[in-house]
Symmetry: C2
Subunit: 276 residues, 2 copies
Amino acid sequence: MSKIDISDAGSAIGVFDSGVGGLTVVKEIFKVLPNEKVIYFGDTGRYPYGTRSPERVRSLALENSKMLLDFDVKLIIVACNTASSVALDYLVDALPIPVVGVVKPGAYAAARTTRNGKIGIIGTTATIESKSYERELTSLNPQIECVERACPLFVAIAEEGWTVGPIARMISETYLADLRLSGIDTLILGCTHYPLLRSVISETVGQNVRLVDSAEATVKEVQRLLENSDALRPVDKAPVHRFIVSDAEERFRVVGERFLERPIDMVQRMIIGESL
Amino acid sequence: MSKIDISDAGSAIGVFDSGVGGLTVVKEIFKVLPNEKVIYFGDTGRYPYGTRSPERVRSLALENSKMLLDFDVKLIIVACNTASSVALDYLVDALPIPVVGVVKPGAYAAARTTRNGKIGIIGTTATIESKSYERELTSLNPQIECVERACPLFVAIAEEGWTVGPIARMISETYLADLRLSGIDTLILGCTHYPLLRSVISETVGQNVRLVDSAEATVKEVQRLLENSDALRPVDKAPVHRFIVSDAEERFRVVGERFLERPIDMVQRMIIGESL
């Protein structure tokens, strides 16, 4: 992986996702690295990635990264489990700056959390089918047993704002009731939308199962990288962040404020690839 | 609108949609016009259309149509409410063969169905915001009153196969409970996914509300057109259909079989526009 040039310490961290979900990672940056500038790109004109083919996701991810490079970012976070699962190595090879995905840090955190070696993984269909978390976990420790479950409707209800209440509970029960009986002691929330559903998921799988949020683990990894490269942003004035999307900026603002739990002043729309 | 040349009667009907939803129209063709050949194109590499700008949808719709023209289809059905709402007139002008959308036939059927002039319309956010059904209905009869409601989660639960049961019922109740009190006697299912949810929707709004399925109305219009042009396919041997997508053919096959309620032998993937 490329290193960050110290002279770039003042530059922003670039973050992209297929849509609004990656804002859970941004929220974590604001908490842990409050002095860093963030440029966020949500590819709302071409979402969702979760049901697309790996080749297609790779080409979208590369276009998004190049767009962020134009803003001179010092590091890119792929805040999308699908893109991290199928495109990360490809981006690491293709780009001149460090690229951090959400899968490796999430898997690492889960491997350190589990006591009994049984880890559950939930995510979109594409993430689960890619087996990316399982691969990372068993490379960390071949003894680890994985139980995986795709929960495609979780994204839709999180975006609709139905994160608590009987519909969320019933959908969670439908997907996850049998995980309660599987003996897992740790569950990876393998999709950036899922932290919004944390309480209902925890209720379903049982309070004794520890939930691992990839966003937290990813931002810790970024912090470590910046510290090791001496590339933390110098404290001079308060950082100014930018939010850019490829379509439907007003919807992004409204849903995004729910994810960030703070106001978003402005969302810009930019043309990328095929989307207008 | 162009007429069909009688010599083309043996050719296929071309159908396109942004994804899998348009298969409800194909299912209706199989029922009403079982002798017709169908070439279906699902633009899964570039869906969903609902969040895109009208200009972009027009250019996608034209590319899809040209692709179908290469197969010498005799008529094109735009089996997508968004594309029908914003691109139909444009396609009618641009193409040398007849083009039929789902909005006009649906609105026409609803206007003939209603007794009290109060019509409900449900669809995706984009379709409801375009007000295309309302425009068609009031041009047919300025006295008609419309009650519109976007139901974004319906697409997700239909694709997940959760078309009956407590989750579908509760979501339907959340979106539509107040329609029961609105005095409508007719409800347009303004999204090609919704016919799969017909029974739960009917339960919510009440048995006295007549549901109008655009797919049915659209295929009736196609039947009328083919009969008037003497262009019904001659009965010689059983028709062979083709299903083509721009991405993720296996997912299309699996979800598509739920929509068609019959097996799909093969789904081909083709490159269109900039999508892989």
